[in-house]
Assembly symmetry: C2
Homo-oligomer: 410 residues x 2
């Protein structure tokens, strides 16, 4: 018998019929002898409905009260799911974040879990009950309701799995696992049986929106085995695990796990800035003061002991970033500020590339062969990212998928 | 400076715009120097929406989980109202039933309030905050969410007023007070400035659905002055108070306060039962075993030392009651079981009638003058109820309103 924490997202519990389907899956797991804790999101559309009510009153709703409001979304789902379980004769008990003693800091709308006092849940599990917990929410030490921010239900699942020392945390979603890349672009994209936490972090942050990055970090920190599965079809999904485990278990190592991509970014370049210490800060300081997040950063030596400085921001922040930098052109002593918001980022991700030279050159060669010009390059231990013109995104992904033979089981 | 508990029902907070209006009213009260605790219901339609979700899963939803679900309705309203208050610069804090420490028994769906630990609310009031409490809900001693049943928000308001020793509990609704009778039937019906708790109990139970009867009982028990006012128009409303206070304050006593009526009842008659001890029980036992509630009961001596026994039930229970009694006709030794579901009940209510003879005869005379036949009569200390044919309801109400000069301030 194992203890499994399962998390079902908004689409999986989006209607009364789907909630009933989930209850039947849970009963199946229980009948196979597992202890089950379920974390659920709000029914799809519900959080937006509540948010719109608040926004209709105030563009900046009071953060504490917004959490009181938003927390009702998941509370509706836990009630309905337990009603479905009890109807089928399955003993069940629902827990709000507060009842589950999910203790957070007091950062309303983006609280962090600090502790979970899971005694009551353990007692219910021992009594044979399915425990149903509202995701995305907790309480602070004064008993105020807090929420963890969008996608926080994944984090609730992982945190509960850690607190209960669960054998596995299963994240049910509308895809059946993590793929080598987006199957809509590469039809031969292959579901990965396993992926390491580090690779998953890169895949998630690069736009493979299967899991919230925060929950993956949390799982890594607390050694919680995490599995991504489909609510709507049977299958083993993808297990997200530790590199050490992976290496020990499978000697045949995977070189590249997948190709992630992102078309939400824009590129901003400051040309001809005097190449002196502190130049990066003098450029990025005003951008960061405006609460604009910067992703890739590249600095090159330009002409006449000046430097060219390029970075990417979210496309929504593009115009404002250009504006801020143009105001600063004189102060910076820069020749020109330019930008491009028709770009895409392609990333090759794989724990194996650490120990294999030549991955980068193979990548660049493959892109060159298709006539794709590379605008920026950054590298890390387990990924290589390039920026290309947006129109080459699909072509680039397909070329890389083929060159690195990602459709083959290695 | 006084401490006032105000309760706003579902219609009063039915839209975002109305919630904003309520926030402005509250700020007005606060600026006039009052400490304000507000109890709110779910936005109109919300409780039914939630109930329908549950019923779509199960005709008999698990009671504990149903309360988890239904409690979200009021939680949405407290969040939105506080967002509206804070937007206007008014410090406010919301409380769920659990956060307000409204402790109840564990009778899910119909819990009773046992205690309120109002220290946190008192501290917020002292800090100048408007306190916004979710009506209709509490927690039991194990921390389970409970609800008080339909209309429970009135009870929450009264219980909080009692716990906080508030100067007044104001119930805001869509009518501007308690009337001598329904103005839709008698256009000259007059709003009462005051009414006693006992009269109000009779008025409420007889179909003047201004206040939940349970909250009136609770207010009487805890000596909480209760006022009914309109959310949508200015005015003093109706103060519901204690007889002693009323008598002391106004020497000029009101004879009759109002006329209540009810068309939800049906009349069942068992004719010719042997007139022996225990006959009432032998007739009503099987009815009560079927969970059918009985209202008026009259027993008369009939022919040949037999008795005729008549009582009223809710119209929904009419057919079933007839069925039950017809099965019992032989056992009862009765001649016949008959009934009528086209009846209406008219009641004259007034604390003054205790000490005034002749009220009943004046009532019967007025009805006779209009050719209205009386089918049943029951009396209590402060009311006289008659059953008449349904078609005479409006005529009877108007005749009584005129004869007792209820349009005149006495």
């Amino acid at each position: 018998m194992s203890l499994i924490v399962q998390k079902y997202g908004g689409t999986s519990v989006g209607t009364v019929e789907r909630i009933e389907k989930v209850s039947e899956k849970l009963i199946g797991w229980r009948e196979r002898g597992h202890k089950i804790v379920v974390v659920v999101s709000a029914m799809s559309g519900e959080t937006d409905r509540l948010l719109n009510l608040a926004k209709a009153i105030s563009p900046r709703p009071d953060p504490r009260e917004l959490d009181v409001l938003l927390a009702t979304g998941e509370q509706v789902t836990i009630g309905l799911l337990c009603i479905a379980l009890e109807k089928r004769g399955c003993p069940a008990r629902s827990y709000t974040g507060g009842q589950a003693r999910i203790l957070t800091d007091s950062a309303f709308n983006k609280a962090r879990i600090q502790d979970i006092q899971a005694d009551a849940i353990r007692a219910d599990l021992d009594a044979g009950r399915v425990v149903v917990v509202a995701g995305f929410q907790g309480v602070d030490e004064s008993g105020n309701i807090t929420t963890l921010g969008r996608g926080g239900s994944d984090t609730t699942g992982v945190a509960l799995a850690a607190a209960l020392k669960a054998d596995e945390c299963q994240i049910y979603t509308d895809v059946d696992g993590v793929y080598t890349t987006d199957p809509r672009i590469v039809p031969t994209a292959r579901r990965l049986d396993r992926i390491t936490f580090e690779e998953m972090l890169e895949m998630a942050s690069l736009g493979s929106k299967v899991l919230q990055i925060r929950s993956v970090e949390f799982a890594g920190k607390h050694n919680v085995p995490l599995r991504v599965l489909s609510t709507f079809q049977e299958g083993p999904g993808t297990l997200i695990t530790f590199e050490e485990v992976l290496e020990a278990e499978s000697m045949e190592k995977v070189l590249i796990s997948g190709i992630a991509f992102n078309r939400d970014e824009a590129k901003v370049t400051v040309l001809g800035v005097p190449d002196r210490p502190g130049i990066a800060f003098s450029i990025l300081g005003p951008v960061s003061d405006a609460n604009i997040e910067v992703d890739m950063i590249v600095q090159n030596v330009g002409r006449d002991s000046t430097a060219d400085f390029t970075f990417t921001v979210h496309r929504n922040d593009y115009e404002r970033t250009l504006e801020i930098l143009r105001e600063q052109t004189v102060r910076l002593g820069a020749r020109e500020v330019s930008g491009d918001n028709k770009i895409a980022k392609l990333s090759l991700v794989g724990i194996g590339m650490r120990s294999h030279a030549g991955v980068a050159s193979r990548m660049f060669q493959a892109l060159a062969k298709e006539g794709i010009n590379i605008r920026m390059i950054t590298t890390s231990e387990i990924k290589i990212s390039v920026v290309v013109d947006e129109k080459y995104l699909e072509l680039g992904v397909r070329a890389l998928h083929e060159v690195f033979e990602l459709d083959q089981v290695s």
